[in-house]
Structure formats: structure tokens, C-alpha cells
Subunit: 252 residues, 2 copies
């Protein structure tokens, strides 16, 4: 475990607490919002809230695990011997990453066949990406085990990014004018926020990352990336659902 | 108690946490989804959420029991003396296994008489199956007590599998075209995921199962089997309910 200053310990502690509050609030916002969208978009908005709910649960666990791994007394941080469980992030992603791709697909309201086939392909690739990253992360070392699993995990990662701009990209261009820009924004938010994860995963190969500053930077960075990819992304999905519900209601 | 490596301990710990998050999310999804099905299918969907809710409760307990049975300090796992309570699984199954067979029957919307008679027969057989397995599991030994109760438990198990393909199988073939494939899939999911349970029960008679690898494999395997039989199965039940609601709404 890293040696942390009291400031570094607190920064991460407070970032995790911020995550708990943000994800809880976002969840309630989305679930209240279900009543404001037409029945075509209710499942998309339910799942948007589920993603932030699952993240809320894991930030709670991560926050507790962080608090148990260190002891702060008189401004000095000592390691307790209990390990900080990084793996909660992987458990979280295994559920939320496929679901947030499915949110995006559902809010587009494609044909039933296309919805099912794209959900299986993108959701399956996302789950595979997380499962392949896990053995490398928990192996602990900065060695070939970490590198090989990480490299394997990049294959589904790149497939997803490619699909979001190729076949899903074409479907986005067929969306109504009023929401096309927002759907592009949602897609871009996912991709941009995701690039943080492989950078953090592979960075130890380039730089020595044992310091407290790096640990604090990684945890705060993950928190910002998670909030962007789940809560901010969810707000865009919700806005799309509201706008489409209004437009389709007006037409009918 | 087995000797575990830190990796084995963590894998099981994270699998249980994954179970908690999955079952909580699935429960909320099904209960929100109640508003999206016609009143004929609301009970089926309510029960689908009850099954995952009960599993959520038991995974929380199992997670805590696992954490109390072992202590991890500086990467070394030691046994605390508190025993890991396997029996939570039986308590869970006693409630959930009859209920998930009843979900399947309810979503088929058979006649009232058939619904009641099939629910009593299949639900009763399922409860009997769990009750008969319990004394063998808690006896602790790999001896004739475990074997005899296990063998007795296989009688209702085989009766249920037989019924799912014979008399219930015939009723499935009379379901509307649009959902027949999904109902067959739901039935097959139950049967396939269930075969994991007797295999684990009887495996100690063939192999020595004292190792940490085996313990980790069993707990992770149970978690995957439970998620398949309850949450994934529940999603198929929900999809059937939505599709039948739409088809019947359009007809009326």
C-alpha cells in the first residue's frame, strides 16, 4: 500500500463521498423522471437509474473499504493491513458498462430485431472487456500478466468504439433532427470518458506509480470518469427521452 | 475451513458483492416494469421481482458471513473461527425455487384450475426437494447421511424436470407463436442452471473438495447459477409478459 499524506487521504475520501451523493441523487432524479417520458422510453430511463444505483452501491462499498485500509490520527496516515478493494470497480463495470450501452440503444428506439442484436453484441463485448481486465488488475504486479490481460481487454474495447461510430453511427444519423445532436453527444461522452480507464491501467508500465499523489490522482480520476459516463451521460439520455416523447406525442 | 489464498478469498468476496448488486438492480427493474405489462401479467412480474429481492437479502447475509469467517491482513488469509453459513442458500432456495416455477406458470396464463394445480404440484415438489437436501448438507460429513438425503432430494428434482418437458411442455406448445420460443428458453434456462446444484452436492463423493480452489469454484459457480436461474430467467419472463401484453392489447 502507498504512503499517503492526510491531504491525499482526505481528497480521495471526499471524492468517494461525492460519488455516493451524486449517484444517489441521479438515481432518484431518473426514477422520478420515468413518469415524464412516453412508454417507449420508460425502460431506457429505468436502466439509466439502475446504472447510477449500481454505482451508488459500489461507491458506498469503496468508501468503506478506503476508510478501513488507512487510519488517520493527529494528521498522520498509517496503513491498517486491510487491503483497499480495487476490484469493486470491476464488479461495478461488469454490470454498468453493458447497461449504459443498452440505454443508448433503447433510447434510439430501433426495430426490435436491431435492438436485441445490437444490445447483445455491444453488451456482450463490454462484459468481455471487463472480465479480461480483471485478472490483470488483481494480479497486482506491473508485469506481463497485467500487460497481456490488458491487451486482450483492448480488443472488445476497440470493437465497441468502432461500432459506436460505424453501424451505430449510421443509425444515429437516421434519428430525428431534434435529438440527433444529443445522441451524438451521448455517444461521444461514453467514448471520451472511457479513454481514462485504459490510460490508468497501462500508465504503471511507463511511470513509477507507487506514490500517494498517483494513487490519489487515479482514484479521483476514476470518480470523475464514472460520474461523466453514468450520471452526466444519463442526463443526456433522459433529455433525449423527454424530447422524443414530446415530438412523438405531438405527431400522434 | 479451507485455506484460501488472498486471490481466492477476493474472488468469492467480489462474486458475492456482484450478486448483491445484480439482484438489487434486477428487483428494481422488475418492479418498475410492472407498469409496462397488462394486469394479467402483473402478478408474474411482481413475483419475478420477489425472487430476486429474496436472493438480494440472502447474498447480503452470505457476503457478511464470508467476510466474518476469514481475516485478510497484508495479503494473508486466516480463519477467524466463525463458520461460513452455507445454509443461507437453502433458506433462499426454499422460498425462491417454488416461486420461480410459479412465475413461469403465471406468465403462461393458463386456465385458473390449471394454474392452481400446476403451481401446487411444481411448487410443492420444489419445496420438498430443498427440504430433503438440507439435512444432508448440514450434516457436514461425506457419508451415508449426505448421500441418502441427497438421493431422496433427487426424486422431486427429476419429477420437476420431467413435468417441465411433459405436461407443462405440452402447455408451452399451445402458447402464441410470438412467445413460444421465449417460454421454451425460460424453461430450458431453469433446467440447465439447476444441474449445477446436484453436481456440487454429490461431487465430494468423487473428489476430495477441501482445497481453496474448489471452495472458490463452488461459491462462484453457485453465484452464476443463481443469477442465471433468477435474474436472467426473470428477464425472459418479463420479456414474455411485455410481448403478450402488447399482442393481447392489439387484439382487443
Amino acid at each position: 500500500m502507498e504512503t499517503l499524506t492526510a491531504g491525499q487521504f482526505s481528497l480521495v475520501y471526499n471524492a468517494f463521498s461525492f460519488g455516493i451523493a451524486t449517484f444517489a441523487a441521479a438515481t432518484l432524479f431518473f426514477w422520478f423522471g420515468r413518469s415524464q417520458v412516453s412508454h417507449h422510453y420508460k425502460t431506457a430511463v429505468t436502466i439509466t437509474g439502475l446504472v447510477t444505483f449500481i454505482a451508488f452501491y459500489h461507491y458506498w462499498r469503496i468508501f468503506d473499504s478506503w476508510g478501513e485500509a488507512y487510519e488517520v490520527a493527529n494528521g498522520v496516515v498509517t496503513v491498517t493491513g486491510a487491503s483497499f478493494n480495487h476490484a469493486y470497480r470491476y464488479v461495478d463495470w461488469l454490470l454498468t458498462v453493458p447497461l449504459l450501452l443498452i440505454e443508448l440503444i433503447l433510447v434510439m428506439r430501433l426495430s426490435q430485431t436491431e435492438t436485441v442484436s445490437k444490445s447483445i453484441k455491444l453488451g456482450g463485448a463490454a462484459a468481455l472487456m471487463i472480465l479480461l481486465g480483471y485478472p490483470g488488475e488483481v494480479s497486482g504486479g506491473i508485469d506481463s500478466t497485467r500487460f497481456i490481460w490488458g491487451a486482450l481487454s483492448m480488443i472488445p474495447f476497440l470493437y465497441i468504439v468502432f461500432t459506436l461510430y460505424s453501424s451505430l453511427g449510421e443509425a444515429i444519423e437516421r434519428q430525428p433532427d431534434s435529438v440527433r445532436g444529443l445522441i451524438r453527444l451521448a455517444r461521444n461522452l461514453v467514448v471520451v470518458s472511457w479513454f481514462f480507464y485504459p490510460v490508468v491501467y497501462f500508465l504503471p508500465f511507463l511511470l513509477s506509480l507507487d506514490g500517494g499523489t498517483t494513487r490519489a490522482g487515479i482514484e479521483v480520476g476514476y470518480t470523475i470518469a464514472d460520474i461523466t459516463a453514468k450520471a452526466v451521460f444519463g442526463l443526456v439520455i433522459f433529455a433525449i427521452a423527454v424530447r422524443k416523447s414530446e415530438a412523438e406525442g405531438a405527431k400522434a
